[in-house]
Symmetry: C2
Subunit: 386 residues, 2 copies
């Protein structure tokens, strides 16, 4: 396998050629590109690397500015110089997931067999495939062992997959607001989103890249439905309630009379500017398929038996997409596997999205866990060489 | 105003002509048709009538067979000869709501000004408008005072509107799994459904009646999203979990691998056979607009001040669409208004749809309440003349 490194203003891209990645579905991707970004400096022991895994619609830009949108990265609350994940100390890596639309190989990439974008000919991928791709990147960067793998939501699924498949390679793991398997209700919401995309005639069976079309309306509906699940009822009531949008009275019509309608429409419209509909199909499918226990004969603990990785599991009281019982289930399995695990359920009314927001208790928990883990690994000052 | 009665195999229809109904939006419907069905016999005192109000996608066939689908009515668990709402004793009335698609005037009705179906020219209606229409029907049937008004979900909203606007006309009221106002989250889910319909090119701006088109895909997506909200996560996990549909292993594709996907797709597909997309728009809007407190300067209790109606309020522990705090809020207001009110939160893992299902505690509560109310009204044997 041959690796080629390129750099552009969006970050780095590495291209692996020659039977690059064998997928769970049986297909082998001959070529694999991974777009990624790093922050900070790798120490000479290569022991201070933290991999951040992004969520369904995230990207490789947790910190700094996102060069595509010009807006701050999605986790600047947590990652940055002097931050909770301090890029002055740690070498932070984040890559766009396999199947994504931020530069990594996905359904919009060129299919080597046809020279045209894959579309629906792209093989269906899994969370484990995403992690296999990240594993290649870590090899490529010359890192033997990651100090920590951290992520929320689908990012947390990747963290758990790292711990299940490559425990020897990760010193510590922080799965946040996640689960070891996607629930029936969550599959249901994903299916609604996919059907909304498939119903859009602009989808063209997934082959819309050749035209100017993009299933904007379908993708916007998918995003609107999903977005409701990211927030709690309490947060919606507090932020929007039944407040009217730029009007004194209801219009007796189908305009966005209510602020919540206007907000959701805006979420849908802006999302389609930055995300690919086929990527949405593939990544939601990967999440649906995620079930670590099933991979281990129904025994979740067996996936983590004998692990030396230190875990910090976090959930949020008002998260109804990945509610606390999912984390409790995970923590029980980790305990049964004899793992070193701490668990904090954080009081918050912000719903699932709390992990992306200003949540002091989450920040304090993460900060404390990283400090203790750094000490345990003998990383003075986070491992910085100076 | 002139009323014309017709009967067909689906039930009865009454047509009111001549400034039939002045709506909240300011428009007056010159002609109003209401399709309804009755069960049992009105006693000579006309004191044994129970009005049942149906939910968003319900119809005028709670008991017996539904002539359109050939299936049992939607509330045969509760309504029928010898049933909890005993049609051997009580005279039971149920009408298709204004705006519906079961024979009552709605967007698919002929617009007298154009001779064509209204489509989006149909005026936007409210829950209060639906109740005004029912009020006309009760007049037409020569009933001065209803023994009880009963309904769940949007049916419960109608019950509350009856109590707020026509308390002198209802002896008792049973609002189940409902609220005195639609929450921000519920408006959000409705907006997703509406946008799915509006995104379907077969919707043709609401004017699809002239063609063979019907926004089937959009309406199916709307139904799928809504259907998730009718069930609890626990019920989905218990019924479907991550079980696969007619296969041994995942397909690595976008087929309905999981039972929950197959179930949802089926719900969507069958719904579009029996429901009109524009009716879905109008009725969801009516629910969004519902807010009894707002009609009374923000004071919910004021809506019920001095009411002599006896209330029985019920909610279900796992209902997250109309969760118990909504009923508690209502019960507090009724108590503050000095109303005679009982309240039961029923333990159930079936979610919002519990009110339509086999829920012995709900049935026992309703049965006991009706017996006591009948006694209080001096209705021996439910008021039957014999």
């Amino acid at each position: 396998m041959n690796a080629t490194q390129t750099q552009n203003e969006d970050g780095e891209t590495v291209r692996f050629d020659g039977a690059a990645l064998k997928l769970d579905c049986g297909v082998t991707l001959e070529t694999l590109e991974l777009a990624y970004r790093t922050y900070g400096t790798l120490n000479k022991d290569k022991s201070n690397a933290i991999l951040i895994c992004h969520a369904l619609t995230g990207d490789q830009h947790p910190a700094g500015d996102n060069p595509l949108t010009g807006k701050p990265g999605w986790w600047t609350q947590v990652v940055g110089p002097g931050g909770i994940i301090d890029t002055d100390k740690y070498f932070v890596i984040c890559s766009n997931v396999l199947g994504g639309c931020g530069g990594s190989t996905g359904p919009q990439s060129g299919n080597p067999e046809t020279g045209k974008p894959y579309g629906l000919d792209f093989p269906v991928i899994t969370i484990a495939d995403m992690v296999r791709a990240q594993n290649l990147l870590i090899d490529h960067l010359g890192i033997e062992s990651l100090f920590c793998v951290i992520g929320g939501s689908m990012g947390g699924m990747q963290v758990l997959q790292w711990a299940a498949a490559h425990s020897d390679r990760i010193f510590s793991a922080v799965p946040i607001a996640t689960s070891a398997r996607h629930s029936s209700q969550n599959i249901a919401f994903h299916e609604v989103g996919r059907q909304a995309i498939l119903a859009d005639p602009e989808w063209h069976g997934g082959a819309y890249y050749a035209t100017d079309a993009h299933p904007r309306k379908g993708l916007a509906v998918a995003r609107m439905a999903a977005h409701i699940t990211y927030l709690s009822e309490a947060a919606l009531q507090r932020k929007f309630g039944r407040n009217l949008q730029d009007r004194e009275a209801i219009s007796y019509g189908f305009d966005a009379d209510f602020q919540i309608e206007s907000y959701l429409r805006h979420q849908g419209m802006t999302f389609v500017e930055r995300f690919d509909a086929n990527s949405y199909l593939y990544i939601t499918r990967a999440m649906d398929y995620f079930d670590i226990a099933a991979e281990n004969g129904g025994n979740l603990a067996a996936a983590f038996n004998g692990t030396a990785t230190r875990f910090c599991v976090m959930s949020f009281t008002s998260d109804w997409l990945f509610p606390t019982p999912e984390s409790v289930n995970l923590v029980r399995a980790l305990n049964a596997a004899g793992a070193n695990v701490s668990f904090v359920e954080i009081e918050s009314d912000k719903g699932h999205d709390a992990f992306l927001l200003d949540e002091p208790e989450m920040h304090a928990t993460l900060s404390g866990f990283l400090q203790a883990a750094a000490q345990a690994r003998g990383l003075e000052n986070g491992g910085r060489d100076d």
